[in-house]
Structures are given as C-alpha cells and as structure tokens.
C-alpha cells in the first residue's frame, strides 16, 4: 500500500481512504451483497465462460482446460448455409414488428384520452392491459387452438365463407403475421401507459383555450396531443431500433414448426436448438453464435444511445 497514489486534498493514501470509506459504509455493502453476488455469479461468471466460443469445449477439461481454436467456430457459422437466412429472418421479424407495432399504442392512447364516459374509459383501459399478463405458452397455445386446420375457429370461418382451410402454423408465410399479430394483441395496450401518462400531464388550460377558440376534438388531437407525444415517441422509436437484431427466443421457439422453418429460423432459437436441445449439443459453436449476436446487439444499442443523446438529449445512461 505504501506506493499507492497520494491524493492531494486529504493527504491520505488511496488505501487508507478506501479503508475509511469501508468502515463508514460497510453496512451499505452488506445490504448490497446478495444482489451483487447474484450479478457476479449469474452474469459475470458466464461472461468469463464465454471464452469457450474460442475453444473446443470438452466437459472433462473444463472451460480453461479445453483446447484453444481461435475463430474456428465463428468461421464455421459465417460460412454456414443458413447464416444469411437467419440474420435476415431475425432482422425482418423485428423490423415488421416495429413498423406495425409501434404506431398502435400511440393511436390507442390518443383515442382513449378522447373517451367521454369516465367508467367506460376506465373499463377500456383496464381491459387492454389484460393480455399482457397471459404467459407466452398460453398465447402460443391460443394460436394453435384458434388457427388449427381442423378444429380452429378461424378455419371454420374460412371454410364457411367458401374458402380453403389453411394450415397456418405450418406455413412459412404465416409465421410473421401470427407472431407480430399476437405480439400486438398482447402488448399494444400495455405499451400505451407511457403515452397516456404524457397526455394526462398536459395542462388542461390548453384544451380549454382551444375549445373557446372553436377547436374541434380533431383539431385538439392534431395541435395539442400529437406535438406533446412526439418527443417521447421519438425516444421510444430510437430505443426500439436498438433491439432490431434481438430475438424473442421463448416465443419464437413455441411457434416454430417443421413447416415454417424458412421464416421462423431466427438466431436465438438456433442457438437453443444447437446448444441445448440437440442430442449432441455443440457448446462451443452455439456460444460463438451467441457471442456474435450479443456483441452486435451491444454495438447497436451503444450507437442508438449516442444518436438519441445527440438528437433529443434523452439517453439511457
């Protein structure tokens, strides 16, 4: 400790100051300890373990004992036949999800705000949050039931209308509509919360003044509501762009069938299939893919955050 840097102001060494601080704050560290231990063991240990992406992992040799193979598995992944398809599937699923899913909560919030009847408004607000609390498994189960080719209500309607029954869950073309449609059904209502909060914080005098000037409800939406919503909407949009290559693995896994692989084959699910579900799991290969993805997503988020900070002075950190 004797060669620690001397800091000017108090004259003590870094070590002594740390000791003093610890004596003063040790109770805070005790309170934090369980949470910190969790992050170290379940988040930082795996980050250390990610080096198996560069090794030929054999359980018998452990993480550091397995042979170093460098970029072998990364090359294998990028030269594999399905690599391009998986990137495209992942990206497009998120992109379409954003295009169709993003505007709906804003629309719902604006129109909910215009409802006159208090109790009806309260009921509507409560109701649109409900699907958020349904589990992914049940959501997928509902899709399997309602869109079943033989007993599903949708196909009964189609055939009753003279159409031909569609095997939705086996058709690659129907994977994205089902995935995104159910996503909107489940979360569009919940995602209005932030916008509703913004709208309720608008000064009521603005509306009163507008009414006196003869503004219709439509005018008020265009000239009061929308300008107030734009900053937060832009922020949400930018933040959402940060997850364009992320995978909603648990949901995609449930909706993936042998028939719709051409569209449902996304990166997160592939990592699970290769690294966990396969009878002969390829740990190193799957880790390499996972690492690639995490690095790419990390870079995207940092970029998006930098852009957001410059444009709207709003950033995550």
């Amino acid at each position: 400790m004797s060669q620690s840097v001397t800091t000017g102001r108090r004259g003590g060494t870094l070590g002594r100051r740390a000791g003093l601080a610890l004596r003063r704050d040790w109770q805070l560290w005790v309170l934090m300890l369980p949470a910190l231990a969790f992050f170290v063991v379940f988040c930082y240990f795996p980050m250390y373990g990610v080096q198996i992406a560069f090794r030929d992992y054999k359980a018998a040799f452990g993480i550091t004992g397995s042979q170093w193979v460098g970029l072998k598995y990364f090359e294998k992944f990028f030269s594999s036949y399905y690599c391009g398809r998986m990137f495209a599937n992942t990206f497009l699923l998120n992109l379409y999800g954003l295009i169709f899913g993003f505007p709906i909560p804003i629309l719902l919030a604006i129109l909910l705000n215009q409802l006159n009847h208090r109790r009806f408004k309260g009921f509507a607000q409560t109701a649109i949050y409900v699907p958020h609390f349904i589990s992914t498994v049940v959501l997928a189960g509902m899709i399997y039931l309602f869109f079943s080719p033989t007993n599903g209500i949708i196909n009964h309607l189609i055939t009753a209308g003279g159409g031909k029954s569609i095997y939705f869950i086996m058709e690659p073309g129907w994977f994205r509509p089902l995935f995104i449609g159910s996503e909107i059904w489940q979360n569009a209502g919940w995602n209005t919360i932030l916008y509703i909060a913004t709208l309720t914080s608008i000064d009521p005098q603005l509306y009163e003044a507008a009414t006196i000037d003869g503004a219709t409800r439509w005018n008020k939406i265009v000239h009061i509501d929308i300008p107030h919503l734009i900053p937060i909407a832009v922020m949400m949009l930018i933040l959402n762009c940060g997850s364009l290559l992320s995978s909603n693995t648990d949901k995609a896994l449930l909706l993936q069938t042998s028939g719709n692989m051409a569209k449902s084959d996304i990166l997160g699910v592939y990592v699970y299939n290769v690294g966990i579900a396969a009878s002969k799991a390829q740990y190193s290969y799957a880790s390499a893919i996972g690492l690639c993805l995490n690095v790419i997503n990390f870079v995207i988020i940092m970029l998006v955050n930098a852009v957001s900070r410059r444009m709207s002075e709003i950033s995550l950190f």
């Binding site: 992050f39 373990g49 109701a127 995490n294």
Partner: protein, 309 residues
C-alpha cells in the same frame, strides 16, 4: 342551482365533435371485442361439450354446458404437481427477489465510495450477457442444474426492477428523514429496517407483482435448466399440452394415459381438446386475478420506472 350554472357555462359540442365521438366509440367497441373475445372464447369453450367445441359451434355462449374438460384436467396429476411447483417457485422466488432488490436499491440510493462503479457493473449486465450456453454451463458447473434452487436463483434480480425501487426510494422518502435519523444515532441498518421498509409498502407491492407474474409465466428457465419432470413448472407442462401438433403431439398421449379414468381411449381423446381450454383457464386465472386486484401497482411501477429510465 350550481348544476344549472355549470350546464349553462359549458360549451356545447359541435356536430363535428359528436360525429367524432360516435366514431371513437365504435372504434373502442371494436378494440374491446378484439382484446376480450379470444379470452371469452376460451372461457366458454372450457365449459362446453367437446363435440360442439370441435365443430366450432361455441361462439358466443357455452353450448351443452359440461365440466368434462375440467374433470379430465383434474385427473391429470402431472399438471397439478407442476402447479404446486410453480406456486413454490413463484412465492419463494418472488419473496427473495423483493428482499434482495429492496436492500440493494436502498444502498444504491445513498452516497458511498465506489457507487459509480457498482452502478456501471449492474447496468452493463442489462446490455451484455455471456449468452445462453455459457449461462447454462455455469449453472451446470455450480452443480445447480436440475435443482429447485436454480429455479429460485435464476433471474433473482432484474436490473429494471432494481432501478424502479431505487428511484422510488430516492423520490418518495425525503432526505431530511435520513438526516434526522442519523442525528438520533441511527446507522444504515437501523434506518433501512425502521424507516425505509415501513414506508415502502407501495414499492414492495409493485416489485412483488412484477417478479411474481414474470416467474409464474416463465417456461424458458425450466426448459433449459431442468431435466427431471417432477421439478417442472406449470408453464413447461402446459407447453407440451398446448403446442404439440395433434398428429404427432404428446397432448393426446398425455390424456390417453388417463384413459381408464376418463372412460376409455376414445373418450379421453375427445376430452383432450376441451381440456386444453381448461388448462389455459386454470393456469391464467392466478396471473389475471393478481393483475385485477393489484392494478394500480402495475401502472405505478411503469410510472416510477419512466421517471428516470
């Protein structure tokens, strides 16, 4: 008198506005139909006759009311075993999550040396992780694979919930209280247990419902971390019942296994379809009820979180 005055001073809505209101009402009726009809359909199908359900005759009201599906579900012991497992994982896990998060949130709301570093280390885990396989191997190396412990410890602390709790403590408990407590000789432990906890009813409720719903609805942790069917949470068993395709699917075989109790194989298969609806009902009711009773806390959680994201 005052009512009359009020009425007179209020500006009457123009015709354009009345048209707008009518259209808006129609829009909301449509939205509510889209949101609620699928849920209603599941509820009525679960108490209808299997044949009527299979022929999609159940549209607005239960047809040939019967509790056959529920009888079949009650026979299915594995489902109830997993139900108990899920209750255990949810109650014990969420309680632990709340305690650990709240203690850490309090610490992070105070000033201490090294706070920046701790904040950075925690936030970093939100944006970068080792990935599924290293997490899995880590759990296996720790000897926690296929144990109840891992179902409790996995996802113990969510960074988001931690930040929500910290923001709550920072904004709703005045710093003067801390100063007064310190004057009276309180240390951090005393202040946390005697002052912060009693004032944290709201945030405890918010965290409980957030952690609780997330744990109740999670199937992926069990899928990756468990091998032994006796340890399966409800959602994992549901997955096999609900998302197996009928031709090859296991759901029919599940119920076929109970054929003796259900009045023969044919009858078991007939009931299997309705039983799926019943499974959805019995598994979803706890989470939705929790939401309905704790509504204000859910919304509050989002609000606190958005204060300082």
């Amino acid at each position: 008198m005052s009512v009359a005055v009020k009425k007179r001073t209020r500006i009457r809505e123009t015709r354009k506005d009345r048209v707008f209101n009518a259209l808006n009402l129609i829009f909301w009726l449509a939205v509510l139909f889209i949101v609620l009809y699928p849920l209603w359909l599941i509820l009525i199908a679960s108490v209808s006759d299997p044949d009527a359900v299979l022929q999609a005759k159940v549209l607005l009201w239960p047809v040939d009311f019967s509790l056959m599906g529920y009888e079949a579900v009650f026979q299915y012991q594995e489902l109830w075993g997993s139900y108990l497992n899920s209750i255990f994982y949810t109650v014990v896990g969420s309680a632990l999550s709340v305690v650990v998060s709240l203690a850490a949130a309090y610490a992070l709301s105070r000033r201490f040396a090294g706070k920046k570093l701790v904040n950075l280390a925690i936030t970093f885990t939100m944006f970068f992780s080792g990935g599924l396989i290293p997490i899995f191997l880590n759990v296996r190396d720790l000897g926690l694979y296929n144990t109840r412990t891992i179902m409790i410890l996995m996802n113990l602390v969510s960074v988001w919930n931690l930040m929500v709790a910290r923001t709550y403590i920072q904004t709703s408990i005045p710093n003067e209280l801390y100063e007064a407590a310190v004057m009276d000789g309180a240390d951090h432990f005393t202040y946390f247990f005697r002052c912060v906890l009693p004032l944290s009813g709201t945030i405890v409720a918010v965290l409980s419902v957030y952690y609780g719903v997330a744990r109740w609805n999670d199937y992926f942790t069990g899928l990756v971390m468990l091998r032994d069917r006796k340890l399966y949470p409800l959602q994992l068993v549901l997955r096999e019942i609900l998302t197996a395709l009928t031709s090859t699917g296991s759901s029919d075989t599940f119920f076929a296994a109970y054929a003796d109790n259900l009045g023969g194989l044919q009858e078991a298969l007939r009931k299997a379809e309705v039983a799926k609806y019943c499974c959805i009902v019995v598994s979803t009711v706890p989470a939705v009820l929790l939401y309905v009773f704790m509504q204000k806390y859910f919304v509050k959680g989002v609000m606190i979180g958005s204060l300082k994201g």
